[in-house]
Symmetry: C2
Subunit: 410 residues, 2 copies
């Protein structure tokens, strides 16, 4: 099924105000209720691109966003804003609605706008991420993701397991059999070549991870488990950020409702994904997974048909945390929160980071304001009011710091 992809909106906002830190911070504090009310209106629009039934909400979200930005003096179209030397910094927005399904169409949009919208852009700031703890953070890397469908097809239609069970080679049994060869109980990926491609953990990294604030007990409590895959901080952070993993998300085509049904499903499709880290290559991973699963499947001597497809192939992203953009971030965090940020990575995939980097070649920073316990994509996902309000101040300050960067040093 071809789904309509919502095009991204390009927004340009210019501002002519001089930077007055304490006045701005005071303004944010005294208008907290308005910020919360604005957020309330926005989150009431259920713009979830992974739910095709909610495409109208997605459109409404885009329209609302455009409207709000127009009210704030932005121009919601592609324009040449010219040179305005008297301003400390100009801001352009790219607002994107298809993140949940892999940012469909965004890469093409960026490429076509490379020499127009992006031509006078110096830096790119992404804020689709969160802190690791209550300590403010700057994010310098994200994992990529290769999302696979493994389909096993057998009988031409579903069969009654009483009437046919024992005589047919069941697709579900085959699928379970090959899924069970992806990863060991202790988290070791069993697909040949995957682990070999991963950049080794350097001593510097080990030291950096060692210094990061991360409360294992708190993390366990947040997730609600008694035991994690690793028991020490460095191993945990490394496997969260810079090692690949396999997650099996579910199976389509089998019986998944409550109750009991005695069916032999005729065609079942497993969904699983492998997080990508440097120096893995999605094209290579695609071949490794497909070759491996087909070889495992062949050993079963099943008459059923296996089809392995990779439907998302997002590369990881890694920045230099010494880049002037990150120095600006460190200064801004220090000013707003009175402490140094943790330099962290993100286990999740934010395809736009890598995409912007590859296409525009600009300096990129991920500046998170999400709280560590927001629970993105999960039940009862929330936003912390503290992070929302202080994060607003952080953005104000950061934009000021960015304006101070001496371009010749970059």
């Amino acid at each position: 099924m071809k789904l309509p992809v919502l095009p991204s909106i390009l927004l340009v906002i210019s501002t002519a105000h001089a930077f007055q830190y304490s006045e701005l911070v005071q303004y944010v504090d005294s208008h907290q209720e308005e910020y919360v009310e604005a957020l309330r209106e926005w989150v009431a629009i259920e713009s979830d691109s992974s739910n095709v039934l909610k495409r109208p909400d997605l459109h409404r979200m885009m329209e609302t966003t455009a409207q709000k930005l127009r009210q704030m003096g932005g121009t919601v179209e592609l324009v040449d804003i010219g040179e305005q030397e008297e301003l400390p910094v100009n801001v352009k927005f790219v607002i994107e609605g298809m993140e949940e399904t892999g940012s469909n169409g965004l890469d093409t949009m960026i490429m076509t706008q490379k020499d127009t919208f992006f031509s006078d852009v110096d830096y790119i700031i992404i804020s689709d991420c969160g802190w690791l703890s209550r300590q403010p953070a700057l994010t310098y890397g994200t994992r990529g993701n290769c999302y696979f469908l493994a389909e096993v097809e057998g009988p031409k239609q579903d069969l009654h397991s009483g009437a046919y069970g024992g005589t047919v080679i069941e697709p579900m049994t085959d699928l379970i059999g090959i899924l069970d060869t992806l990863i060991s109980p202790n988290g070791k990926i069993l697909i040949p070549g995957i682990r070999e491609a991963v950049a080794p953990l350097s001593d510097e990294e080990w030291k950096m991870y060692q210094d990061i604030q991360f409360d294992i007990d708190n993390y366990k409590k947040k997730i609600g488990v008694s035991q994690l895959m690793y028991s020490n901080k460095v191993d945990l952070l490394a496997h969260m950020w810079r090692y690949p993993t396999v997650s099996i998300h579910g199976i389509e085509g089998a019986f998944s409702d409550p109750g009991t049904k005695t069916v032999i499903p005729s065609k079942v499709t497993a969904k699983f994904s492998i997080r990508q880290v440097p120096n893995m290559d999605p094209a290579m991973v695609k071949r490794q997974v497909s070759d491996y699963l087909h070889s495992v499947f062949a050993k079963r001597k099943s008459p059923n048909k296996l089809k392995v497809t990779m439907v998302i192939g997002a590369k990881p992203w890694l920045a230099d945390p010494q880049h002037p953009l990150y120095e600006a971030g460190k200064t801004a965090v220090k000013r707003v929160f009175g402490m140094d940020p943790d330099l962290i990575r993100e286990g999740a995939t934010i395809p736009i980071a890598r995409m912007f980097q590859d296409v525009t070649g600009k300096g990129i920073i991920m500046l998170p304001i999400g709280a560590f316990d927001d629970g993105p994509h999960s039940q009862n996902e929330k936003m912390s009011q503290y992070n929302y309000i202080e994060g607003t101040k952080l953005f104000i300050t950061f934009l000021h710091e960015v304006a101070q960067i001496n371009k010749t040093t970059v």
Copy 2:
């Protein structure tokens, strides 16, 4: 969730007509359109007890059935029909609407009616089954079924696989791991004790199976597969009827919709069932499966919690195909179809057969009129008009033959 169970209807019909074979057969033939029309009205009511949203249809089906039988002179309540020596045979109906979910409540109903409704019953005829080929058949056995839920529970809520993948021990991986130990690719059940309990195939059985009409190529074509679990007739029939098998029906709680979702499901429940044959005992099977899965799970050293429950435990049923009731069936088939019936078993579970036998102690026959390619419980399930019309004649003739059984010989 407690679902309302629809009580069965007890129906009693008496008939005073003498048996006139050719007139009756002619009547059926000349009224084919009316029979088809009646069926059309009935199947328009979607009475599927496995779909809780269709309970109103189930009620409507029961009411329609009762109404139709009243029109035909039946008494839709529990009555003492007395002795009517002048009639060849009296008929009582038990019409049951919860078959798809394991005939909930039927056993209790039968037990409470044992000394009332069933007290003057001589034989029980069940027709919830089908032929094996185009050859008419009598069914003398059915497999039972033990239906299991295996639930693995981990984190307190679903997690994002990017943010958490690699640090948590995923319930889905655990579940796949234990499901993969149930049955080998070539159909061998791996749960200790299961195969040992199965009655060995006797030489007589082997000979009987050898003589049954069964076209393997046709069977493969019907299912739409290029290869079956066994390549010879006796092995296929034996594994369809008198050996247990494991079918994995699906997983509840994982991502099962179309599209891509990067979730780590926090609680996943597999549904699988093991067909029961003599001399397996569901209570024993329950313990064997639970012990085995827990031992396999323990080896994974996972912090997640496994819960194994058996929600259906239906015993197999086996009759003596030399019983006078079967002799009556053979005579009736010979008269209507001009050929001897195949003596077959049913791979599926018809809990009422075993239930009636255990509680009433009466002689039971399964007299199938369903066609071999009806596809029960599957997509495009259908009824063959030939089987419907000729089957109607078979019932007329069979009831006459039953009336001839000399009770003293039984």
